[in-house]
């Protein structure tokens, strides 16, 4: 120890730096880069790929819309107006549910830059909440709902708020327990935790509610055909699903724009520390974001149950990823974008399934996910920063 100290002291006293050469003489010679010898073919290929990348990046929305338009027309050509209409109806119904779930992803990502992997499972859990709540009174709510129009309204007025509040609190608890401590950790830590929460929720639902899909018995609430357009039966159920989704989305949009809490959310999303300095209770704002996102997922789960009459422990995983795709498609952090993205994904999966075969519809959505994240992570409506230059 003392030897070393004196040695370095001696060295130190000799000057700021020791003797020898700092600059490697080999470094001073002119050199051609190894890469300079790249074959022209490779250079050309790379240039082509780069150009292709740029093209896809810039014209992705156009490509996508053209593709969708083509698919719809193709279905029209193959199966006529009725088939097209029926599939558009299916796409809208599916899209409405995706949209409701996608909003939760987009809000959470917008505010704390976390892909809330567990969000899809909050959706499933909310489905079970609805199932339990509807069954709590010995099926009284169910019989109320099927009794008369006013009864249905009452039942909906019971099931929606209760389920949404329960789901909202679930979301808040998840944030409080699993994410808050990791807010300043590197991005990957909370993502891994989120995957953990997702698996935990799935596991709990599996243990509690069993492996089978559970009919929620909500499908009998709304029945009957509303209107028949061009040979397509549009049921009250379909209208209900889409109307609920649109209604909730617009109220959320208004909420975020008008209310103080909404403004706080937007401010926190912009700059968390600045918001903190300007007196915004950041923790509460983030909790509120989780609450609203989860509540919307719950609304999605209720309309899902009413429409499809089933819920299963692992439903949320795939639905969650699809909804996440919708969120990035619409530009993550953008609430309206997420809604529109949901509907677009609905159209893609239904029409893609019709044309390419149902076995491809998932792959198609995942391919969209990969393409959009790779080429245009800002989404359809986001202005790409590079194009500004």
């Amino acid at each position: 120890m003392s030897d070393e100290t004196t040695a370095s002291a001696a060295r130190a006293t000799a000057g700021a730096i020791g003797h020898g050469t700092l600059v490697d003489p080999r470094g001073l010679s002119a050199r051609t880069d190894r890469a300079g010898t790249t074959r022209p073919a490779v250079v050309r290929t790379l240039a082509f790929l780069r150009k292709l990348y740029g093209l896809v990046q810039r014209y992705f929305p156009q490509f996508l819309i053209a593709g969708i338009a083509f698919a719809i027309l193709k279905v029209y050509a193959n199966g006529g107006l009725t088939l097209m209409g029926a599939q558009i109806k299916n796409a809208l119904v599916l899209g409405a549910i995706y949209a409701l779930v996608a909003i939760g992803y987009t809000m959470v990502y917008g505010i704390i830059e976390l892909i809330n992997f567990a969000h899809g499972d909050v959706f499933t859990l909310s489905g079970f909440y609805a199932f339990v709540i509807a069954g709590l009174s010995g099926g009284a709510i169910g019989s109320l709902a099927t009794h008369s129009g006013i009864g249905l309204l009452l039942a909906l007025l019971i099931i929606f708020p209760t389920t949404m509040v329960a789901a909202g609190f679930t979301g808040v608890v998840i944030e409080r327990v699993a994410y808050r401590r990791l807010r300043d950790a590197p991005r990957l830590a909370p993502l891994i935790t989120a995957i953990g929460v997702s698996f935990l929720l799935e596991g709990l639902m599996l243990v509690i509610f069993g492996a089978d899909n559970r009919p929620t018995k909500l499908s009998s609430w709304i029945t009957g055909r509303a209107v028949r357009v061009a040979g397509v039966d549009v049921n009250w159920k379909d209208i209900f699903v889409v109307a609920t989704a649109l209604g909730l989305m617009f109220s959320l949009g208004a909420f975020v724009r008008i209310t103080t809490l909404g403004k706080a959310m937007r401010a926190t999303a912009q700059d968390r520390s600045a918001s903190l300095l300007s007196g915004i209770n950041v923790n509460r704002t983030i909790s509120a974001t989780f609450f609203i996102g989860s509540a919307l997922a719950a609304a999605g789960a209720i309309v899902y149950s009413i429409n499809y009459d089933l819920i299963q422990w692992n439903l949320g995983y795939q639905l969650g990823i699809i909804a996440f795709t919708a969120a990035v498609l619409g530009g993550i952090g953008n609430i309206v974008g997420a809604g529109v993205g949901g509907f677009i994904i609905g159209v893609i999966s239904v029409f893609g399934g019709q044309l390419a075969g149902g076995e491809w519809s998932n792959s198609l959505v995942f391919a969209i996910l990969v393409i959009i994240l790779t080429f245009r992570p800002v989404g359809l409506f986001g202005v790409d920063v590079t194009t500004r230059a």
Partner: protein, 433 residues
């Protein structure tokens, strides 16, 4: 010393046999006493096993069959069917959580483990054809007899009948696979007969769940349906996780399908499909759909489905005793799955084959486990045993000699058998009852 050791159990066994004969005289009809007196001197414990999906999404399929097979073992032990030898019963689950149901890899692992245990002489299972594809080669290499109560894909035994299964490659070793149920060729013919002749449909849309069983059944149905003069207007192949069938239903409707056929299991969406179909279009399916899960999934739309499934044995006089025993043992009816008595018969067939081997070998088990297993397989080929579902006998492929299926419809909230149909080798379907 040795003498007393050998004698003691003999005396004991005889005593118990006599007691049981006095107490319950009706039980001995199927066990036919102790056979040769030399069986009583039999010494040893062999293991018989089941390999069925017991948990996860398939939990409605496997457990009743497993219970029935277990019941057969319990009865054989009580009746001393194998004389002085005893049976150990092992139940394996080929369903995993990660797959939420039957898992070929888990099935393969189970058979590997069972094969490695030299005391195991035979297995009842598997339930699903996709699991069978994974298990048969291992069982074949290890000479282990497999008796399936539910595999219907013909490609498992008959070369050239399935596009996806290379039958010959399933048997790298000996042929040790048997099944107590008919194949999908028969089932497809019967379903097509029902669709064209009884319901008078000419346009059908076929959906399958992408699995060995579902895809196979769908193919045979399409073939027979076309042969019977119908047209397949469209097909779809969807993964078992599918929860939305509206796209396909709309497609089918626009193509004017009068009936939608689903090849697959209710765990893979048979009942969900029904719930999302208009009530005006009936659904047709195979034995994979005939369970309670279908009824819960299909909910209010359940009526309007017609499926073929294992012949309904609950009304057979030969099965009366089985059902009453099942009821008294488990306090369950055992009628929710038609496969339940087939599991019972499968296990009994195995036990009878073991017994035949022991008898032929002077009351002693062959010392080499492989020889033992081979002998059991040989005895199974020769078997002609009066089981609960009728005569249990296998042809050279290991298929049952009495293929037939019942047509079931939903009656209120339960499946009700409508008629029993059989098909001959030429594909001609006759209504048996």
């Amino acid at each position: 010393m040795i003498l007393t050791k050998r004698l003691l159990p003999v005396v004991g066994v005889m005593g118990i046999a006599a007691l049981s004969a006095c107490g319950t005289s009706s039980t001995s009809s199927s066990s036919s006493g102790g056979g040769g007196g030399n069986l009583a001197s039999c010494q040893g414990t062999f293991t018989v096993a089941t390999d069925l999906p017991l948990t996860g999404g398939d939990a409605t399929d496997g457990p009743p069959v497993e219970k029935a097979a277990h019941l057969a073992v319990t009865q054989a032990l009580a009746n001393k069917t194998l004389g002085g030898c005893t049976l150990k019963y092992v139940s394996k689950d080929d369903a995993t959580v990660l797959k939420n149901g039957h898992d070929p890899a888990q099935g393969a692992a189970n058979i590997t483990a069972l094969s490695g245990d030299s005391s195991v002489v035979g297995v009842v299972g598997p339930f699903n054809s996709s699991v069978a594809v994974a298990e048969i080669p291992i069982a074949s290499q290890n000479h282990l007899p497999l008796i399936s109560p539910a595999n219907t894909n013909p490609g498992l035994t008959q070369a050239g009948t399935s596009a996806s299964i290379d039958t010959n490659s399933l048997y790298p070793g000996v042929h040790s696979y048997f099944r107590t149920i008919g194949t999908d060729i028969t089932q497809g013919e019967i379903l097509a007969y029902v669709a064209t002749k009884e319901l008078n449909f000419t346009k059908a849309y076929a959906i399958d769940d992408q699995e060995t069983y579902g895809k196979g059944l769908s193919t045979f149905f399409q073939k027979s349906f076309t042969a019977d003069g119908g047209t397949i207007v469209g097909t779809a192949s969807l993964p078992g996780t599918t929860k939305q069938f509206q796209t396909q239903v709309a497609d089918a409707q626009s193509k004017g399908a009068q009936v939608i056929f689903f090849g697959g299991t209710s765990g893979n969406g048979c009942g969900i499909l029904r719930s999302q179909m208009p009530a005006s279009i009936p659904e047709l399916g195979g034995d994979g759909c005939q369970d309670n899960k279908f009824i819960t999934d299909a909910a209010s739309n359940a009526a309007g489905a017609q499926v073929t499934s294992a012949p309904d044995a609950s009304k057979l006089p030969t099965a009366t005793k089985f059902y009453s025993d099942f009821k008294s043992t488990y306090n369950e009816d055992g009628t929710e799955s038609p496969y339940t008595p087939y599991g019972f018969d499968g296990m009994n067939a195995l036990i009878q084959a073991i017994k035949a081997v022991l008898t032929a070998n002077n009351g002693q088990p062959p010392t080499d486990p492989m020889t033992f297993r081979d002998s059991v397989a040989q005895q199974l080929h020769k078997l002609n045993y009066p089981g609960a579902t009728g005569t249990v006998a296998f042809d050279k492929n290991g298929d049952t000699t009495q293929p037939g299926f019942s047509l079931y419809t939903i009656n209120g909230t339960a499946w009700a058998p409508k008629q029993l149909l059989t098909a001959d080798a030429s594909g001609k379907v006759t209504v048996a009852s």
